[in-house]
Amino acid sequence: MAQTIYQSFSYILPETILAIFFVLTLLTAIVGKRRSKYLPAYMALLGFVIAGIFVFNQIGTDELVFSGMYAVDPFSWFFKIIFLVAGILIILFSLQSRELEAASTKYAEYFSLIISLTIGAFFMAGSTNLLMMYLSLELVSISSYILSGFTKESARADEASLKYVIYGAFSSGLMLYGISLLYGMTGETNLYAFNQAIAMGGIQKITLLIAIVLILVGLGYKISAVPFHFWTPDVYEGAPITVTAFLSVTSKAAGFAMLIRFFKIGFIDVAAQPVVAGMWEIFRGFRWTDIIAALSVLTMTVGNLVALWQSNIKRLLAYSSIAHAGYILMGFVTLSDQGISAMLMYFVAYLLMNLGAFYVVMLVANKYHTENIDDYKGLGYRSPYVAFALTVFLFSLTGIPPTFGFIGKFYLFAALIHTNYIWLAIVGVLNSVVSLYYYLKVVKNMYLQQPVETSRVSFDFGTNLLMTLLVVPNILLMLYFSPVLAWAQNSVTMFGIR
């Protein structure tokens, strides 16, 4: 049921809270000591926690607010939880980061930008209007441009932010042109009205194809799908590790949320049963999902193959995150509820394992001052617990039991086989085998190679506790995944789709 503008405000309370705390966090720069990182960090954490309470209150809500511009439904609810957890973890990571101390006078700006990126991600997950989509995408982009170059004295970070902003502005410009064509063809900016306009026919197929491909450029850039992935390795390597971890989870998940909603609402023939068969063909026998399938195969293959040659662990994880975007896209190809819920479940796994891996990389960079995989030699002897944690995260990224990553991959492949995309499942499995090589190379370095130095390096209690909090769910959820599965299955509901 559509809400009036006045009533709508009560549905964006979490976003409002975050916006207020964005300002408050920024203000801590003038109240507290300029170099203190704790005051802005705790202010931001408080904002996330309060916003989290309001998000939890929205459980089960299924409403379209602000004249059909923004949907508050179980689908966006799922992503909001992911963003909040990622944001809180990143703030905790940032408190320990050595790298950020180079910009120690700007902690308030740093934490407030993390909040603003999260607000953008919230709106990306829920927007049902082309203008809202574009604006929220830009909010995420602009925040992340600044974040990636945050330690601006480091030449690496400068280069990362320059590449990011050029690729980003270019692809969002292409996306905007695509949006303008869509608006011109249908006269609508609302995805639901847009669906009806296509249903009535009379739309030029070629123009529609061009417009959608241009919009896919913008979305593909956000999720770093392959023809649009060139920025990813450089930005992930150059940006501070905490920012890299944040971008690889929040920004990517937000892009996927928007991609799924855009196609699922805009292009599905609601009357058709089952819905899977109801996606409109561009031309006879050629469906939108075929483009996505091609993107998915390209993304995971290129990501995995190039990752084989990397010697910098951040760059390796960047290519691995490209490959993971390919795996997640596989679930989208099916467009079935099963496929989408498998994708959602994979996001939970991805959040845990990817943030965990980046956390370990940050800890190692703090104490060992290196990001080179060769320098991980003997880490298993020098810091056993950290090495064990990294092993768990890398196994999870590969999809080997007993880790949650296995369950995530398993459900993705099951969804593909269920909808007869067996060739795609085979490509996915082959890719996982390839990925095993470069993940295990790190593990081999840690345990089977003799260290140059043998002194023990230990970490403090808080660090170990936070790491345990990431390791335990990675293993525990493998054994007891049914709550996550149920949550993901309940979250495929979008407003207006059944």
Partner: protein, 104 residues
């Protein structure tokens, strides 16, 4: 001779602007010139929005979108200029091809 300017004329102009923008982004080495290419792309989309609203469609959505895009383009230009300025201070170049330390 018919001098009436219609929707098609606007779309052609915007398509030309769009192509010039892409050409600029792809060929220019100077970061500022790349930014100008991006601005051309954004403005070609803006021209589309306004033209579609003026001819053909009855609502004002397109013009509102154009306003939003102008603001966003300004924000994006500010960010890019700040980053380029910082690059210039740190690395003493604004040539995007020379900023390539992050390659193996």
């Amino acid at each position: 001779m018919n001098l009436h300017v219609g929707l098609t004329d606007f779309l052609v102009v915007s398509a030309i602007l769009f192509s010039l923008g892409i050409y600029g982004v792809v060929t220019r080495k100077n970061a500022i010139m790349v930014l100008m290419g991006i601005e051309l792309i954004l403005n070609s989309a803006n021209l589309n929005f306004v033209a579609f609203t003026r001819f053909g469609l009855m609502n004002l959505t397109g013009q509102v979108i154009a306003l939003f895009v102008i603001i966003l383009a300004a924000a994006e230009a500010a960010i890019l200029l700040a980053i380029v300025l910082n690059i210039h201070q740190q690395l003493d170049t604004v040539n995007v091809d020379e900023v390539d330390k992050l390659k193996n």
